[in-house]
């Protein structure tokens, strides 16, 4: 059993700034929990506080109900994989993996058995007598994992473990880490800046920004019901499109590509005539024929096409369709001097259109998100 409770935990740096502010969440036993956020959001600091390498300024961290704020890292029975792997360069792979067991003063035969077992799980058998400098990045990563799992820790902490690997290896190791965690069933906290890793790996995800938790939930919850504009923009790739809009008479949403009746599921009474930010994910645009019935349709000009094989992402500019509007879309709005509206939309990859072409697009009005233009808070739909 290992349940971690982070209870209003804050960290203030010597300079006076807050690295982590009043963070509260519970990681359940056996859960794969992700801390995700842009760099400098305090996620690594939080992890270091959990493992005991950083002092806690305020709040309490409990492991199975016991306060561990003051517990030395060596007594926490947590294992950690560092972003740089932090392998001991003067020791062989075997000595590296055995190091925690040696410190725990296990008998020699038991150490050998456990190291061989860990090496077997991670396919390190042939590398045991090598030094870290003779290993590739992926192999070093495995050794770091081996050193972490060999002591059968209560909690497994990973600090951006894949960020130094190339893209292909990263995907492979991601799968292996997921499989390993499920196999061992150890409570795991995983820090990453990559929303894809967070979505793929996490049972639950906490999204941090400037030291504060923005939202905690399953990847699906974060994707479908982001609590604010930041979460909506961070989760999902390519990122959600944001458009400034006004709500006019009769709950009509006045978007740059034309008006759209607000779905009744929004709290319409609170939205009356307000300025809002509208969020539409690239995957919620469709070709008019493939869109759900009654989806709003608009024309757009393609300014960039990104073809990925399985997907085609188009960067488009809506072409105003109401009478008297100018013909061509512009990258800079002449009235405001601001960049023109550019939407990223996902379309079927076999679409034979390229830069400069015009097309008709529809979007699923039932899937749009609305955010307060001032606070960025989401107006959640009633389900």
């Amino acid at each position: 059993m290992a349940e971690i409770v982070i209870d209003h935990v804050s960290k203030r740096f010597a300079g006076g700034g807050w690295a982590v502010r009043k963070v509260t969440f519970t990681v359940k036993d056996g859960e794969f929990f992700i801390l995700v956020g842009p760099s400098g959001c305090g996620k690594s600091t939080l992890l270091h506080m959990i493992v005991g390498l950083e002092d806690i300024t305020e709040g309490e961290i409990r492991l199975d109900g016991q306060r561990i704020n003051e517990l030395d890292p060596k007594d926490r029975n947590m294992a950690m994989v560092f972003q740089s792997y932090a392998l001991y360069p003067h020791m062989t792979v075997r000595e590296n993996i055995a190091f925690p067991l040696r410190l725990a003063k296990l008998p020699r035969s038991e150490i050998k058995r456990r190291v061989d077992e860990a090496a077997g799980i991670l396919q390190l058998g042939a590398l045991l007598d090598r030094k870290p400098s003779d290993l590739s990045g992926g192999q070093r990563q495995r050794v770091a994992m081996g050193r972490a799992i060999v002591r059968r820790p209560q909690v497994f902490l990973l600090d951006e473990p894949l960020s130094n690997l190339d893209a292909r290896l990263r995907v492979q190791m991601r799968t292996e880490i997921a499989a390993l965690q499920r196999r061992l069933g150890i409570t795991t906290i995983y820090v990453t800046h990559d929303q894809t890793e967070a979505m793929v790996l996490g049972d639950r995800v906490a999204l941090l920004r400037s030291g504060e938790v923005q939202q905690i939930g399953t990847p699906k919850q974060l994707y479908e019901t982001p609590r604010n504009e930041f979460v909506a923009g961070f989760i999902g790739s390519p990122a959600m499109n944001f458009l400034h809009a006004e709500i006019g008479d009769d709950n009509l949403l006045l978007l740059p590509m034309g008006p759209c009746p607000l779905p009744a599921s929004f709290p319409l009474d609170r939205l009356d005539h307000r300025n809002v930010v509208v969020g539409i994910r690239p995957e919620h645009f469709h070709l008019p024929g493939a869109a759900p019935p009654a989806s709003p349709v608009f024309s757009a000009e393609i300014i960039l096409a990104e073809w990925l094989g399985a997907d085609l992402y188009l960067h488009v500019q809506p072409v105003p369709s109401h009478p008297g509007a100018r013909e061509a879309p512009l990258l800079i709005e002449p009235e405001t001097g601001k960049p023109g509206v550019v939407l990223i939309v996902r379309v079927p990859p076999d679409l034979r259109l390229g830069r400069g072409d015009r097309m008709e697009l529809a979007y699923d009005a039932a899937k749009i998100h609305l955010f307060d233009a001032d606070t960025g808070e989401s107006f959640l739909r009633n389900h």
């Binding site: 010597a14 270091h48 493992v51 005991g52 390498l53 030395d72 890292p73 060596k74 947590m78 294992a79 950690m80 560092f82 740089s84 792997y85 932090a86 392998l87 001991y88 360069p89 003067h90 190091f99 925690p100 410190l103 725990a104 030094k131 870290p132 400098s133 003779d134 290993l135 990045g137 070093r140 050193r147 002591r151 130094n164």
Partner: protein, 278 residues
Amino acid sequence: MRMRLKGTDGLPGALGSLLAVAYALLPVIWIVSLSLKPSRELGNGRFLPETFSLEHYRAVFTDPQFPAAILNSLGIASITTALSILIAVFAAYAIVRLDFRGKQWIFYGTLAVAMFPQVSVVGPLFELWRTLRLFDTWPGLILPYLSFTLPLAVWTLTAFFREVPWELEKAARVDGATPSQAFRLVILPLVAPGIFASAILVFIFAWNDFLFAASLTSTDRARTVPVAIAFFTGSSQFELPVGSIAAASVVVTIPVIALVLMFQRRIIAGLTAGAVKG
């Protein structure tokens, strides 16, 4: 003649190297040659001895002064080295890893001490040591040696500690090590080349010093080899014991050469390769 360091320069490079080596080694060979000449050949001006003789070696070791001086030298230099490295390791670690007030002052203070002219402290030390009864004792030499070798050792080791990734220490702590275990088992082995390098430098300083040893000792109790050699006397006051001086000089060079040869392979940097990404 400029020395080239590239090994692929062919003949000019080889010649240059040869010249440099000859320039450095000629006086040494001359001394070795002198020490092996029998007394009657000493003045003949030939580079190599015609007959080999160990009489001067026998002579310096039968004189009780010289073995005593060697013992003093070995003891004083070893203790100086051990203490200097011990203190410097902790000082350098603290300078690199800890944040404390006046850190910069300590760092530059040590540098200032290293640049201090030694001659200027000899006189006051002489008076002070006589009052404190440290004159002509081992500690009387070890103390000034420490103050002049510590800056060197601290600076060298600071450079090595800076190279060690801090995450290794964190990893060791998470792996279950106490702070002292993390230091001993992970950090220390990685700065070992630095420790050997500075140990050799400190040892050579203490071994070679003449100024303090000549001024702060008066008898066999603490007199070190360089001074003992200078005080060698011939059979009469008009004779300079060239042969004995040469033999003694060869003998005092041996420990230093042995030390360097023993540890030179340990002084290979790059031990930290592979610790972190790269």
